[in-house]
Amino acid sequence: MTDTSGSRAEILRRIRQALTDVPAEETPGDVPVARDYLRVHAPRSPRERTDLLAAHLTDYRAHVHRTEEAGLPGTVARLLAEHGTRRAVVPAGLPGAWLAEVSGVEVVSGGGGLTAGELDAVDSVITGCALAVAETGTIVLDAGPDQGQRRITLIPDHHICVVRAPEQVVDSVPQALPRLDPARPLTWISGPSATSDIELDRVEGVHGPRTLDVVIVTAQSSA
């Protein structure tokens, strides 16, 4: 498209000229990086890890709900009702069981590529996640089948995100990255959209969902 090959060569020339202090035989690996920082900031049981995730999400004004597997459909139905949702969007691969108790809500599939305008007329979105990070209070979406396109969790005003504990909960950022595939589009979410631009007063929901409900689902036996 744009022919910037001249500038490409020029910038590379400038860089090499700028780095004449770097010995020719030095390779990138010769520049030391000490990774003696921690992989995790405290030892935690699976339960403590999940509790920390919940506490940190709450700190940043996400609403956290805990349930066992059997209670999930009821929780999803209740959250939609509480939000007054008339129309909800779900990714194509969302387990049908999650919606088993939803009634009086039109559920549209986000798999077919709704336009942004159509999404703007949707009240809520329900997704799973790729993983969650306890130390930072973050959920990560990777566009997997139960999460769908990035836009479906962005335009509706209300996002219900289901996290499976303990298997989807990691302690820390260093533990999260190896479990994620950089080739997929990733969205890290820590609380709802927020701004502090006006006199540093935090206001939720400038552009993304104003309400973030995180449902932490634990298997019957654990937690």
Partner: protein
Amino acid sequence: MSGTYLGLPSFPRAAAESTRDTQLRANLTHATHTIRDKRAVAIGELADWPQLRAAGAQVKDRTLRHLDHYLLQLEAAVTEAGGTVHWAADAEEANRIVARLVHATGESEVVKVKSMATQETGLNEALAAEGIAAYETDLAELIVQLGDDRPSHILVPAIHKNRTEIRDIFRTRMADWGRPAPEGLSDSPAELAEAARLHLREKFLRAKVGVSGANFMVAETGTMVVVESEGNGRMCLTLPETLISVVGIEKIVPTWRDLEIYLQTLPRSSTAERMNPYTSMWTGTSDGDGPKVFHLVLLDNGRTDTLADTVGRQALRCIRCSACLNVCPVYERAGGHAYGSPYPGPIGAILTPQLRGTDNELNASLPYASSLCGACYTVCPVAIDIPEVLVHLRERVVQGGPVTLRGTRTTIKPARGHAAERAAMRVGSWTLDHPAAWHTAQRLALRTRRLHPERAPGRTARAWTDSRELPALPEQSFRDWWRQRRKTRENGGDQ
């Protein structure tokens, strides 16, 4: 850099002006103190902060020492993932590339995520000249844009405006750009944010082209990372059909794993949060998700000149967290505009003169826009020794010497009559006349010292003071040094 900033007065004059603006100073003081107090708490949660800081610096040093290698690796990875890479030697070229790419889509408007690189190149003005409207979508940038103003802080660009001023800007200007402000808009932050939401959503939903910067680019995978709070970034990065990202060549990190350092240090250091509300990562284009076309414009614009300076090079480690602004007593009093560049505060004082050269009065005065108290170095999450670079640049201004300008090695002459140095003394005089600000900065430095081993002023500092025939006393505070110097001058000594 940007035409917006040309013709601005030198730092001391601009600073003298803004320090008389009591509203500005009150806003700034409130903001910087709030952020830095919260920040200390957020960082206190991480027992390994010093190690993260050191690793953050080392990874950037590794990258900078082999920048050609990593840029080529990045180019290959982005291309492989379906993106197109462009190289821009300077601001004009970057703007030309973006304008051409926008024209090729047939569109005449773009939505923008806050990006310092495009502020640096003056992209919005350049696009306007080409008949393309660029809408800033970050709330603060919107405030600044609607108010025909300039950003004053890296992180909170409208920090100098209070809620009443913002309401007035929205009431009078929103209609000129699209959806007007709601009737009877009050000055409550929630109502103001809602007004911005409605005003901008209209633009997001119809936008065909998005323009962004990036906080990080991963060489091994070609992944771009944008860190934000509001969701306007997500809107611009995922809704348009075409995405154009303009990114400084220094924003690269070698590996996917390296993000584990910066995703911990950047949010805590900038907004004092454990993690910012939204981080978006994308690698080229993805089938059916987000833009169909992705362009990456790699920007030099003085970065290779900065790289050529072995002392000043460390400024390229900067991850734009803005922590150094919030602890700087000079920034607090002068405000961001006085620095005449998108990069204000301590980092601006060392980055701008290196990116632009020191051949005009404004740029030559910037290395003096500091009290050398060291608080900026103490807080910097990538351990840039800002005082060391300041002193080095002062030396360059007053003594001249070899530099690289637009890729060509040259020797600059000393500033005439040390004008910059004299100007600097005027800056110093008002900072030092405000002992409260001064002591706060020093106390802060002391409080965090056990986390970050302090360095005595470096080799260059002594070299500079020696060369100015001033006593080389590293233990002496700048304040004492200043007093002593003033006494000498009053007694008819030097100059």
